[in-house]
Point group: D2
Chain length 424, copies 4
Amino acid sequence: MAATAAIRGTLQDRSDRAAFPPPDVSARPVDRAAWIAAFRTVRDETERRAAPLSPEDQQIQSMADASPTKWHRAHTTWFFEQFLLRDHLPGFRLYDERLHYLFNSYYVAAGPRQPRIMRGLITRPTAEEVAGYRAHVDRAVEGLLSEASDETLDALLPILEIGLYHEQQHQELLITDILHAFAQNPLAPVYDEAWRFPRSQAKAGLAELAGGVTRIGHDGNGFSFDNESPRHETLILPCAIDKGLVTNAQWLAFIEDGGYARPELWLSDGWLAVQAEGWEAPGYWQRNEAGQWSVMTLAGRMGIDLSLPVTHVSYFEADAYARWAGRDLPTEFEWEAAANDGLLDDAFGLVWQWTRSAYVSYPGYRPVSGALGEYNGKFMSNQFVLRGSSVATSEGHARIGYRNFFYPHQRWQFTGLRLSNYRD
Amino acid sequence: MAATAAIRGTLQDRSDRAAFPPPDVSARPVDRAAWIAAFRTVRDETERRAAPLSPEDQQIQSMADASPTKWHRAHTTWFFEQFLLRDHLPGFRLYDERLHYLFNSYYVAAGPRQPRIMRGLITRPTAEEVAGYRAHVDRAVEGLLSEASDETLDALLPILEIGLYHEQQHQELLITDILHAFAQNPLAPVYDEAWRFPRSQAKAGLAELAGGVTRIGHDGNGFSFDNESPRHETLILPCAIDKGLVTNAQWLAFIEDGGYARPELWLSDGWLAVQAEGWEAPGYWQRNEAGQWSVMTLAGRMGIDLSLPVTHVSYFEADAYARWAGRDLPTEFEWEAAANDGLLDDAFGLVWQWTRSAYVSYPGYRPVSGALGEYNGKFMSNQFVLRGSSVATSEGHARIGYRNFFYPHQRWQFTGLRLSNYRD
Amino acid sequence: MAATAAIRGTLQDRSDRAAFPPPDVSARPVDRAAWIAAFRTVRDETERRAAPLSPEDQQIQSMADASPTKWHRAHTTWFFEQFLLRDHLPGFRLYDERLHYLFNSYYVAAGPRQPRIMRGLITRPTAEEVAGYRAHVDRAVEGLLSEASDETLDALLPILEIGLYHEQQHQELLITDILHAFAQNPLAPVYDEAWRFPRSQAKAGLAELAGGVTRIGHDGNGFSFDNESPRHETLILPCAIDKGLVTNAQWLAFIEDGGYARPELWLSDGWLAVQAEGWEAPGYWQRNEAGQWSVMTLAGRMGIDLSLPVTHVSYFEADAYARWAGRDLPTEFEWEAAANDGLLDDAFGLVWQWTRSAYVSYPGYRPVSGALGEYNGKFMSNQFVLRGSSVATSEGHARIGYRNFFYPHQRWQFTGLRLSNYRD
Amino acid sequence: MAATAAIRGTLQDRSDRAAFPPPDVSARPVDRAAWIAAFRTVRDETERRAAPLSPEDQQIQSMADASPTKWHRAHTTWFFEQFLLRDHLPGFRLYDERLHYLFNSYYVAAGPRQPRIMRGLITRPTAEEVAGYRAHVDRAVEGLLSEASDETLDALLPILEIGLYHEQQHQELLITDILHAFAQNPLAPVYDEAWRFPRSQAKAGLAELAGGVTRIGHDGNGFSFDNESPRHETLILPCAIDKGLVTNAQWLAFIEDGGYARPELWLSDGWLAVQAEGWEAPGYWQRNEAGQWSVMTLAGRMGIDLSLPVTHVSYFEADAYARWAGRDLPTEFEWEAAANDGLLDDAFGLVWQWTRSAYVSYPGYRPVSGALGEYNGKFMSNQFVLRGSSVATSEGHARIGYRNFFYPHQRWQFTGLRLSNYRD
């Protein structure tokens, strides 16, 4: 059943695994078939994730940070139309010029756009009409990839590549946004009955990191986002990082020790968030009258599995937990160095891991010019870096050098933590 | 085409017109067939109004004052289940107990309920599942009406009757809410391509009202809401009321005379609304770069028809217009007395008419006990009375004594005005 | 001691009582000395009320609805400078043109003004400098009254008269605003140690009102505000009004019967206010850990005196109380008719009495033209009428026809209630 | 005249300069006289800064981030009473227990406290009464310093020392808060007529920083705040830093090039701030109708001096300026390394300098236990580090390793910037 496999599939053997990531963008001659296969793989995955959702499900925006499924499907399509077809397809015509306004996101340079908070109010085009838009653009892109001159391909492939990774980012958001939407419904709708959080593969204990000057950032092989550059040296201090992630069992101990009621454990802004939001546990947790905890998941509301990694915790919570435990969150560089050395278990595919590194630019970073320059750099304030990847991350998307980032109060993503400490 | 006739139908000859209103609730023997026909007429009209709308359209709540179409369809069904079936149907079982929470509206006494502002977040049940809920309750109600004992009918008919009028109120809201939702979409979706605002039947000039002590309120014949009682005497002062409504042409003169830019014309709270909302014209009006006005309608965005009555104006705007014109809005009692004397044209079926009467209780009013007592009385502060009915009002719903009420800043209903003045 | 007598004085025999109200504005020849005496009486009373307050006390604005003492003192002075001296004093020069901007209140027609919410941020001029401003304007006004031609006096006296009543209104606000400010301070500062709420003079029982057509509004003798006109006929229905006011003892019974926890007793907007504001008792009431109630007064925090009239209740509370008691609030016309017949005890000098009349215009009302036309008419929405006067009302200010008005959620004034009911 | 010299004095030769900083806290035997002299110097400086202010000036809180002068004077006194006298003075009694609640700031562990936003509402105690509180605590502290046993001194001196630096921090806030308050007053009050912004001493050009592993943080000599530790190694990349600060002339070029109107220059959250706050220039700048800029200063509103360093710019503005200039802000470590090497002009005494380092803890940082542990660590999210010191910083307070921090939207401090860039 399509719905059942929608998310789990990303963690399983799949026949199309080979199709993504695509070839290196600079490899010549260009393997057009491989690029088309990669394009189809990504485009299909979006539709596969949306398939279990009714037109109503795809319509709503349950908070300002989230977007409707339909919007994700249309916006990722708009991206290819706006940045790929418009400039490179001979005789290009917009599929529907009114969609341009509706499905731009935050690219100020690409023109005016629907206010973010009103994305949920656009009932037309319908989900079905968006399918038509997607099919039209898919045909056009595939045609272009087949028939473009080599020169056009040179210009086009970098755009195509970023468009594919961009769409994968929205695939993850699609899942976390619909989980948030479903969590608002007292009926606790089920996205996929068969879905289960994957089990940890972690060994116990600490991984020792010797420290020293090390190179951080993208080494130039394969795709990366601009915020992973320039590659540069940094000094790692000797420290030890947990091989595994903090678990629900550990988090319950924190709760039961009054973790959410002791201001001395919290950052000042974190304590304000605790009070304003009434946090008493991770996101989507509820305690029934008998005192038993449950959590809203993609398979509906379920009991807490103590052995799983804790997730849906904000940076503020991760930081408070580390303080309570008398330990640290690693920096993003410590994480990257440890991952490069193969020291971390469960680094990928379970939960994004908060680091104590604020999201700022690497030394000498300059955004690319034009609208695509708005991609990453303009968010470099007030957010923290997360490393790894999550259960909702698309196949082929994760990398050791990948820098994810969210505001410290946000917790609707699959976000967790691992601890570390410095050696005396 | 079903969609085309959805709203216009309410203003046309219809074969089922005879079915509503139902017989007098106290008529004996009870004409069960007539009651069933009335029930079917009302229930069908709701579905007819929803028919042109996609599942996506039916899902959204475009502002706190509005509700989703799907919610209107379910809530009116809940009303019959909660107040009629639960108490009178032998062997009654809730169709789905979770719907009870979701589709209660403001009846505090009927238990906890989904916060109003979150109505748009309930994607499940789907629009189709709500259709199943409606069909189930329809069958149960019709069965009950056929088979109930005379004694049960005695208890049941007053509930049934108020349920029918209640559903008609939601039929009007369904239309005004979807118009508001569509107005948020830059694509200006069309509810019914063939829809046109009905033309005025008014004669020019003033109707003279002699004044004197007169009886106001419901005389006991036929249905009325509790806020129309007790019937009581009041003193009407000699005055003159316009036979017709203020038109778009007249309103344009107000705009062009700086009506929206002159604070001396406005109530203090009205001027705050003008500034906070950026009002420069009635609701849904837009001026293009060439200076031409258009208005969002059920048939999409259209040019302004100068001969039509102005609509989508708030009380604040109606009051400012009257001050600009050197005239008054009538009181609700002057309106009722003039209507009783047959002096008003266009009293019904075009736009609700703001009066300068604040919505307060009639002398000696006491709400009925129980949850249905929350129906009208608890809104008796900060609102103004409107009289007449609008193009969106359901067939058979309007009455001379009917007291509609909205907050003075609200304008998403079909609200307009007629002017009056006192004789010196 | 000056401070001690500041407020109590308004309720006592005073040697200057004869000086206010001033002569009839149309009496000729003009008794210049009497007008000067009235002017001095009012101006002195403002300073007497401010005398117990430190410069710090006079500086602050404790909420948007309140104003600093210093602002009241300066604004009432600005009123005479703006509307009296500017137009009628030969060789007039503004005392300080920068004060014009600072101390205008809401007279849009009189030019731009300091945003209301920022009144508390103006530390310069100091309280002492405002005293200088007052003295300067006092001298100018008194000189003008002594020396103006008869013709100038004709134009000037109506302005002077409204200026005096205007300043008395601010005298009442000065007291209620400083009480609110002091109530925010955990130290519960004392305005006047000797102050005590005056005792009720009410007899028990109901006053019967026969009903019938009666004349309401100002009869043309003596001063009135424009909102008391035009005088007009209205129909009073037969009813009975309590001779006395609702007491603290009665209110405690309402509290103990769950009055603040039963939504069915409240208007819908009232219940929202109860929840948003956390109301559990009248304004300034606090319950200590032993369960004993105290109330913040002008003499500091004191125990509840059960025999006194309840005060600092909003319209929403008054309405809920009446519903709980199974009775009504009188209309403003019933109140006025009963007061005209001498049927009410404690009508004046204790607490303003909420009526169930929304504040709207009398039939045919038109505001006067110019800036003074903004005085009353522009507030005619969303407020309710109170009748009588309070312990903080200035000597000579109260009248049977006086229409005070506040929003239904406001309760920092000395506001209470008396009940009534209709005869069957 | 005392007022005139209030601020300028901090930049001039002063006879008491020797009194601060005090001796090293671990020097033995303890030089009691030197500690008393340091205490008096700091305490007197607070009063000297408050001296030009009226009771009204000292009362108000012009925004949530600011505090009243009176509050600064009382809170710094409370600090010595709470943390020094309470634990170490035999027979200690609180001066007034009610002040404990009023003048606690954010020390959650020290008990409940007046909500920050309501600090401006406390009119009693008066400014004069706060002077009495200060004098009382001064006598007690000086007596304790004279007479305490050596053992008590051991425990006491670290508290005394942090209390002195704490009070100096409030001295700076006192100045920036009153400037903000005065800027709200259209009369633009003058704090000190003779005040002038000090002139730059900078040479032109770039200072080259060779890079390499370097030690950062407090070396253990003299006082430091806990956030300057642990001292640790970090890697500095080769870069060049401007010897001087960005000037008003340069900032005007940014404005004239559309700096405040080009979203591509701004961080996403920065652009939201530009739009929400209507920023068109640095804080306190105004353009008159002739297009000329002025700026609110401690000497009132004055013309822009092009040669002075720009100040009252937020991090968002500093970042946008750097992007516009094609350069970087230095990291806090680059700044510290350059300052240690003597490469920077105007490092101290003009404006705090934004760095592009988010304010996070040094590796292995742990806050001290108890209430004083709340001092710095709990603010380590969402803020950026500033280095150097400003014209308002107290004598003896600045250090190369000092880490100041503010939110990126804040600009009421004397905040400016210097630029840098990496070597290719």
